[in-house]
């Protein structure tokens, strides 16, 4: 049973087609990244799922049922910006959320502690920094320990430590079996935590599925020696050689048509009289793969 199943969702803002017949399923237990450049429709899609916007066409199900407030109460959601009553304290804001979600207020201290806001729980929301506001939004999403989380750019406004903490938190939640639907344009973030992705561009779904199936990222070897000219000539003679390019750091990136054992390559080069000073198996970054996909 998919947690979320979208069927041909379309949405227009005036003449702008924000989403065009988007369909995909989010399997239970997955960390599902919705990727796309700014303006690709990520937030619009999540806004439709959370009933903030209505789709012009198409349908979706939550927990295999017709979507309703009851299902939303079982999902922790952080959409776009942290939305709280400015004059209320962090604690009182979470009391409002607990009331709407029909969850016990006893969970509030736990989520405040998780978000690192215990010391400031009685301060008014309006006195919070951007990062603290974002932390409170994350705390609010975690309230009641929901099995499904929707996180739209969860690292927004956080400092490097905060970003790392959120990433760790997402990993921990995923390990605990939660389903996490995460929209982000920070590919590094997605690469480190997501099991599945859907890629949007200008409102159209380009691809969706498990990360490694959707984005093929062939391994390549990065090599270097005292004489890169000679190394290049030797590598080009390798039976599995396909392509070679030089990096600004003075190394050579080599793609082979089949996986090549680094020890074997090292041995082969030495037999040709070349001693490697650098040898590393690398993988195309998600960012490169993503840019290739979205630019096509």
């Amino acid at each position: 049973m998919p947690i979320l199943s979208l069927h041909n969702i379309s949405k227009k803002y005036g003449p702008v087609q924000a989403l065009s017949e988007v369909s995909f399923d989010v399997p239970p237990g997955s960390v599902f990244g919705i990727l796309g450049p700014n303006g690709s429709g990520k937030t619009t899609l999540l806004s439709i799922v959370t009933d903030v916007l209505s789709a012009d066409e198409g349908t979706f199900t939550l927990f295999d049922q017709h979507p309703s407030a009851k299902q939303r109460r079982n999902i922790g959601t952080l959409l776009e910006t942290p939305n709280f009553y400015h004059y209320l304290s962090a604690y009182r804001n979470l009391q409002v959320v607990a009331g709407i979600k029909q969850r016990s207020e006893k969970d509030i201290p736990r989520v405040l502690e998780l978000a690192g806001l215990t010391a400031r729980q009685h301060s008014a929301f309006k006195t919070f920094s951007l990062g603290m506001k974002q932390r409170l939004a994350i705390a609010s999403a975690l309230l009641g320990d929901p099995d499904v989380l929707i996180l739209d750019e969860p690292s927004n406004g956080l400092d490097p430590v905060g970003i790392s903490e959120v990433r760790t938190l997402v990993k921990q939640l995923a390990q605990a079996g939660k389903t996490i639907i995460m929209a982000s344009h920070l590919l590094d973030e997605v690469e480190k935590v997501c099991t599945h992705v859907a890629i949007l561009r200008k409102g159209k779904l380009l691809l969706s599925g498990p990360v490694n199936a959707v984005i093929t990222r062939d391994d390549f070897l990065e090599v270097g020696s005292a004489d890169n000219k000679a190394l290049k000539a030797v590598i080009e003679k390798h039976p599995a050689f396909v392509q070679l390019s030089a990096t600004p750091e003075g190394l050579l990136q080599v793609i082979f048509k089949e996986p090549v054992d680094p020890a074997g390559l090292n041995n082969w080069c030495s037999q040709q009289g070349i001693w490697l000073s650098h040898l590393q198996v690398r993988r195309k970054s998600l960012e490169t793969a993503f840019l290739e996909l979205t630019n096509n």
Binding site: V52, L53, S54, S68, R73, Y85, Y87, L88, G99, K101
Partner: protein, 259 residues
């Protein structure tokens, strides 16, 4: 519904602006009546005899208090506008839905305030009328004319429904307050005067004017050579009709539109 009221209570419990505005709206009810009582109390005895009862004698006190209060119900509307536009400013109307309210729950949460503030205005008015009737009046307790406070209650409900509609459509606090007060205090009055001048009684059928027509000040109201009026039932039906239309527009807007 109890859950919704509990959440609304959490939103205002420590909100100072709410309590200040509510205090002002409540205090102004006896305060404005005190002023009017002071003025009517200065009418020379001979004229009073001609008029019959004083405005704050039972049973006229019900009508007098209802009439005087109808001029200050805009303060309750300002309070409601503040509560509603806050939700749009903070985008908490969205968050409430995201967190698990049906959109209609959000509408009910604001309609709760329409009803709660109307009931507060009504109860304070009843207490004020009783106080003035017993303290300043010279006649024995009499419930005749109590229905004027019922008209006042409906006037507050209509004022608040129009304020809620304005808040939902305009969303920004400052602009919503200016537009609302501009309509209530100037624009509708201009329309009423113009319509009455050229088309007669139909001018009395504009939204808030329906309540004004139902709530003339006792004694003086009778003496003014006004335009011929419709039967009270016509104004009452029109007033209830406006409340129904406002509610329909409020639900339609919040249930259908993107928020």
């Amino acid at each position: 519904m109890l859950q919704i009221i509990k959440i609304e209570w959490l939103k205002v419990k420590t909100y100072r602006t709410f309590w200040i505005l509510l205090g002002l709206a409540v205090i102004i009810i006896p305060a404005s009546n005190l002023l009017v009582q002071d003025i009517t109390g200065r009418i020379p005895k001979q004229v009073q005899t001609l008029l019959g009862n004083s405005a704050y004698d039972f049973p006229l006190v019900w009508q007098s208090v209802a009439n005087v209060n109808s001029y200050t119900s805009a303060i309750f509307a300002l309070l409601l506008l503040t509560l509603v536009t806050n939700e749009f400013t903070f985008k908490t109307h969205r968050q409430n839905v995201i967190d698990g309210w049906e959109r209609k729950d959000f509408v009910f949460s604001k309609l709760f305030w329409v009803l709660a503030l109307s009931v507060i205005a009504f109860v304070v008015s009843v207490l004020t009328a009783l106080f003035f009737g017993f303290f300043y009046g010279t006649s024995a307790f009499n419930m005749d004319g109590f229905y004027y406070l019922g008209y006042y209650f409906l006037q507050v409900v209509l004022s608040l429904c129009l304020a809620l509609l304005t808040g939902i459509l305009v969303k920004r606090a400052g602009l919503a307050i200016v537009l609302y007060l501009g309509y209530v205090m100037i624009f509708e009055q201009l329309l009423v005067v113009t319509l009455k001048r050229f088309w007669g009684s139909v001018g009395g059928l504009l939204p808030l004017q329906t309540a004004d027509e139902l709530l003339p000040f006792p004694l003086i109201g009778k003496m003014l050579p006004g335009v011929q009026q419709y039967d009270n039932m016509v104004y009452l039906i029109a007033l209830l009709g406006y409340i129904a239309v406002a509610l329909w527009l409020i639900f339609r807007r919040l249930l259908k539109a993107d928020i």
